[in-house]
């Protein structure tokens, strides 16, 4: 019974096709994910951590420093700009190339290659509903069962 049920769901899904905008959004999200530092939450987030920064022994034997060192927190407040703000600032400060933005390489002149979204081997076929690539019936089945339209883009 269960298999017939899921078969019907699959048929209903098959009639849906992702539009171009949704496919682009999905592709962009995949590239953005490659930039992330962590895919999980801070494991100590639930701890009430003392705000104090760890203290390291000063490098000098004698305390030669005249003034008190400023805290890490101070510098966080003092130099507080996001990457996006800095790029924007640079565009007005250094508008003429060469600059950070102009240095990015253009697209390759070689044609794109296509790989199966499931097994990674070269692929010859495109999934009609979502545009993902697959190499064989078995991989298409895995793709339909696991990803395809099941991902909300």
């Amino acid at each position: 019974m269960a298999s017939r049920e899921s078969g019907r769901v699959k048929d209903a899904e098959k009639r849906r096709v992702l539009d171009d905008a949704a496919r682009k959004r999905r592709a962009r999200k995949a590239i953005e994910a490659l930039e992330l530092d962590n895919f999980h939450e801070d494991p100590h987030a639930d701890l009430v951590m003392s705000k104090k920064v760890p203290k390291f022994a000063d490098s000098n034997e004698k305390p030669t420093r005249k003034k008190k060192a400023k805290s890490a927190e101070y510098y966080k407040m003092r130099f507080r700009k996001t990457f996006a703000q800095l790029v924007e600032e640079d565009a007005s400060f250094r508008p003429e190339p060469p600059n950070y933005l102009s240095a990015q390489v253009p697209p390759s002149k070689f044609p794109d290659r296509h790989f199966c979204a499931v097994c990674g081997f070269p692929s010859n076929y495109t999934c009609i509903p979502c545009g993902a690539r697959y190499c064989c019936v078995r991989c298409l089945g895995t793709h339909l069962d696991t990803r395809c339209l099941k991902w909300t883009a």
Partner: protein, 394 residues
């Protein structure tokens, strides 16, 4: 005024390379890490070596997209690096060479100048691009006129042409693929195909370092990896660390099911070479950019024609990604194929690709003009940050 040694800090987005010019550099993770297994404390820099179980490590990095953004994190890591626990220094007696990213944003440059003169009380400061140090290292060793420096690091891969020791800025090219993208892509495909490792950046980075190689014939290796019998010379198993008997995983031959050693493994097949392949074909994951050899040619072709011959003869690679077996050979092969026949092409890899720029700093300190590259504390106090901005060619 001249000191007998200098402190060199190649402040990378993933690791800092640090030490006195009279000694060997230490490689320190430039981040704070939190472990699931150890809830009492975060691990700062190389303290991670004290962590018994490195599964599910959470990273807090000072750099974002290759730029120093999180100053509280950086200050904490620097305080660690400059302390007795790591590599103690007194900047009022020792000049400092510190590296910064290419095209570093002006407000980050200002912050760098301020923090080293005011917080760390530097006497002499040289802020410089790591590629400048690498070029210096190469030029002093080879006595050549022009150099193409390829720095393939954590956040990006940069291609920087130098003519007579000076950056030719119009020729600088950046590919938005570095070690982080490779590790994240490997995590993604292993998690989909085999085992959820999305939280295991630290371990999967080691899997990448221990298993991957750069293919010399990508389609042929794909055919080999397709084979189900012993003619598949690529397929291996990676034994994962369990943090009781195995602290770092390793690659081994596939064993028959009845020989199962009851170790948790990852099957590494086309993953072994399709991951580093992204440095050569970013479009394989939908990043619409040239790969390294094509970008090298794009960079050289934007330089004055009379320098191109010397540039092609002096291409030097460094950075963590260049350590993949086959990396240099593949770059050479593709650049050779793209360059005009009557030019010679020479591609070499820095002896120790991770500390190659740091070693360049060590050589630069011995330059008779070293102090003219620096800004002193007196100059900073008299003339302010503008002088540092003019003198340092970041």
């Amino acid at each position: 005024m001249s000191e007998t040694s200098c402190y060199i800090l190649d402040n990378g987005a993933y690791t800092a390379k640090v030490g006195f010019s009279t000694s060997e550099p230490k490689v320190v993770p430039n981040c704070i890490m939190k472990a699931k297994s150890e809830r009492r404390r975060p691990f700062i820099g190389s303290q991670i070596e004290e962590c018994r179980d490195a599964s599910g490590l959470f990273y807090i990095l000072p750099f974002q997209k290759g730029f120093l953004i999180n100053w509280d994190t950086q200050k904490t890591v620097w305080d660690f690096i400059f302390s007795k626990e790591c590599c103690p220094v007194n900047f009022s007696e020792t000049p400092l060479i510190i590296t910064e990213p290419l095209f570093n944003f002006s407000s980050i440059q200002e912050a760098m100048t301020e923090i080293f003169f005011e917080e760390y009380e530097c006497q002499s400061l040289l802020r410089i691009n790591a590629t400048d140090l690498a070029e210096y290292n190469y030029r002093k060793t080879n006595n050549n006129e022009c150099t193409v420096v390829v720095d393939s690091g954590y956040s990006y891969t940069y291609i920087v042409p130098y003519v007579k020791g000076k950056k030719y800025k119009d020729g600088i090219r950046r590919i938005d693929v570095g070690g982080k993208v490779l590790t994240n892509h490997l995590k993604e495909i292993i998690s989909y195909r085999q085992l959820n490792v999305m939280e295991e950046s630290y371990v999967i980075n080691q899997v990448k370092e221990d298993s991957c190689f750069v293919s010399q014939d990508f389609m042929k290796d794909m055919e080999i990896a397709r084979k189900k019998d012993s003619s598949n010379t690529i397929v291996k198993d990676y034994v994962l660390p369990d943090y009781t008997t195995i602290r770092r995983g390793y690659l081994r031959d596939v064993v028959r099911p009845d020989e199962d050693l009851e170790q948790q493994t990852l099957r590494m097949n086309n993953e072994r070479f399709s991951i580093p392949e992204l440095l050569f074909r970013p479009s394989d994951v939908g990043i619409p950019q040239m790969g390294i050899p094509e970008a090298i040619m794009h960079s050289i072709n934007s330089c004055p024609e009379e320098n191109r011959e010397s540039l092609l003869e002096n291409i030097v690679l460094y950075g963590g990604n260049t350590m993949f077996p086959g990396f240099r050979d593949r770059v050479y092969m593709e650049v050779r194929a793209l360059a005009l026949d009557h030019y010679d092409v020479n591609v070499s890899r820095g002896d120790n690709p991770v500390t190659y720029a740091w070693e360049g700093g060590k050589m630069m300190f011995r330059d008779p003009d070293f102090y003219s590259f620096c800004v002193t504390r007196e100059e900073y106090e008299e003339e302010g940050k503008a002088l540092a901005y003019e003198r340092f060619d970041i």
